[in-house]
Amino acid sequence: MGADSGPGAPAAAPWRKVLYGRQPYPDNYVDRRFLAELRRNVGVQQLRYWSVAREAGLVGQQVSCVAVFVALWSSLDGGALPPAALLWGGLLAALLGYGLHGALGGGTGGRTRWADLQSAAIFLAFTFGFSPVLKTLTESVSTDTVYAMSALMLLAHLLFFPYARPSPPGSLSLNAALFGSVCLASRLPGALHAFAMLTWALLLFALWPCLLQRLRDRAPRAFPWAAALVSLAGVGGLSGLWPGGSVLLLLTLLALTLACPLLLVRLQRHKDNIHGPWDEAEIREDLSRFLD
């Protein structure tokens, strides 16, 4: 079992690393060249702090998105914001976003303007038509249950969000976010409130990540500024609702964006992967050329 050792070792032909030939050595014998093929940390990238912090900004940004949404909801619920104003604001934001999306170029991905208009029309008609139904949906459910459900759903949204590539939206995360927003929207005083809320939910959870993805691809320098803007909006919006909460949010954001990347980079040093010929083979080339 050990390397060549001791006088007891039979000194016949040199040991070869084969099993198909009979050798005077036992089957589990290894010689001095054992572990010569060991490689350490082959595929490990060297992370740099600021690029990691930049990517972590996406996570922080998403958390503040949720915070913005909750702030909007509470202001609508409290009556501080009239729904009509919110609707117009939403329309404006949508148009701006659409313009930005087009301006950043890169093609429309196979969708014509007409198809986009159709989608918007369907969505508006549907939501407007169903908003009276949606308003009375959770009437018989107690408030605590509604809040708990929404919180759970928004948490699920954050957990399952496809941070690597936000653009084709992950089904579960988007659906969870919409479910939570419908639960919250059904608590609002009027049908128009519910409609406004749902419009903003779609903007924030469905359309904004697409724009963000575009930004990340085309204008990488503007991306951190957009994320920072959203974070600030989140903190600010929450401060009106619950100052303690906004402080908490700020701390969380700082931790996520600054402290966690530091931790990651520091811990990277301790990474110790060993590779060798005993690893499972990974097929790196594209085998689709064989499928014909």
Partner: protein
Amino acid sequence: MVLKIFFPQCCTTADSGLLVGCWIPDQDSAVVLAVVHYPFIPGQVKRYLTEIRSQTDVDLTVLGSWSMPKEGQEGMDSFLKDLSTIFPHSRWLQLSREIGKRGFTCQVVRKGGMFLKEQAKEGEGSVRDENEKVIIVHYDQRKVMLSQLHPVQEGVSHSKMEQSALRAVFHTVAQSHPLFFIDKYDDGPLKLTHWQSEGREASIIAELVKQGSVPVCKLLTWMLSLWSWLGSIRLLNVPPVRFISSKLSTCVQLGYRTEHLQTVSSTRKATEHMEFMRKANIFVSFLLDMALGLLLIAWLYRENRIGKLASTLVPVADVRVPYPSKNHLDLSGLKMNRALDQVLGRFFIYHIHLWISYIHLMSPFIEMILWYVGLSACLGLTFALSVLSDMVALLTFHIYCFYVYGARLYCLKIYGLSSLWRLFRGKKWNVLRQRVDSCSYDMDQLFIGTLLFTILLFLLPTTALYYLVFTLLRLVVVLFQGLIHLAVDLLNSFPLFAMGLRVCRPYRLAEGVKFRVLCEEEGTPLHLMMEINPIKVSAVLQYYRTPTYSCYPRDSWMALCKKLFVGELIYPWKHKTTKTD
């Protein structure tokens, strides 16, 4: 090799004479059917035997001789021994009784005069090859003749080889009844002793009924043919009428009774046992049915019971479906949606309103209708029950409608929910592979799908409650109808005649035999008494049940629960129609 001789009990005290019977070749047995007494002319005996052999299927021969010692007939023995040369035989039996002994001795003579000694006791140590053990089995001839072995093997026994000894014995005795026509009062050339030799039994009433039944059957058959011609005219065979008449149990029952009557009233005499039993069962159950129906009429038409029934029926019919109100149910923690609740409630209440006005329209006529419908009970209790079942079905038609609405709504909802739940998780049902696969949906689809999912989910308790209430009501009605059908089916198919036969004359339905040792004396063969073992009561039901439609549950409990949960429409009773052969 044991030779079994089946000896009728009535012949144990007969005078000396010739044994007439039948050999059962493979099983080495002989069945003695009668004893021909002295004086006789051998030629006449032979002629008589050939005559009987041509009438029946039985291979009658002279088996041997029987000697009962009496004063004045000492020379009989040797005379009878000499007879063995006259009649053709392969084996000749010589049975004889002796004064002072209960059993009788038996000597078997092979053709060619080889004398075979019989063995007096069983189980003797020495074995001699040419020795034959003889067992004499006594049987009650009348009982065996009338009895039928079960399971019944119908049809001409094309291969007698496959019959067991018992079956062969029963068959032989049953087939030989022409042999038993001559009794001791007849002035023919031969004097026989068998079970009927004391005098043929007959009853005047039975004869009169037999004579009278022929024209009655002819009349019935003509009437039934008229009825079935009526039933088959084009107007009544239009598909909607057909559909309705297949659902109304009165029409079904009418059809069955017509069929039964046709079986009973056919003028052809029943040749086989099963056919006879079936006719008899149907006839008796029909009589019972009519009797019960007439009793019902006698009870119903007294003291203005019909009027009382009519006046209680109308308020019962407009039973108000309990309308679940929000206040009442929120206490129990159910999440009812008020808007949907109001919509559904209004819809159903409108229906009930329609139904009630219809009933009120009919209410002055109800008593008259009931009076005339009650008269139909004279056709039998089964008819009255079928009419009751149909009336219940008609009066609770609105419950059935509500159940269908509620079930369809609930089913749609469950289906939609399950499909949208898959969308929620980002999966989809692969129809080709019959499994759930992942799928990348469009933004539009995701949005609208989630919205619908939320709506359906929150509206589920309301719909489920309505569904539950209507399903329960429907199940109650179905149970009640099922009970009635069970009673009707019981009346239709219970084999009363066979059961009565089993109770009063158990020997007629035989499952097997049992043997009792009669006498075991030295110097005589073993005497056994064969007694008929009647079939069990449950076996009577199994063999003789008249096939009619039987109601039994279509689904097992698990399948039923699953259907209820998913919202599929349930029709719990399946009517099995069996074809009568």
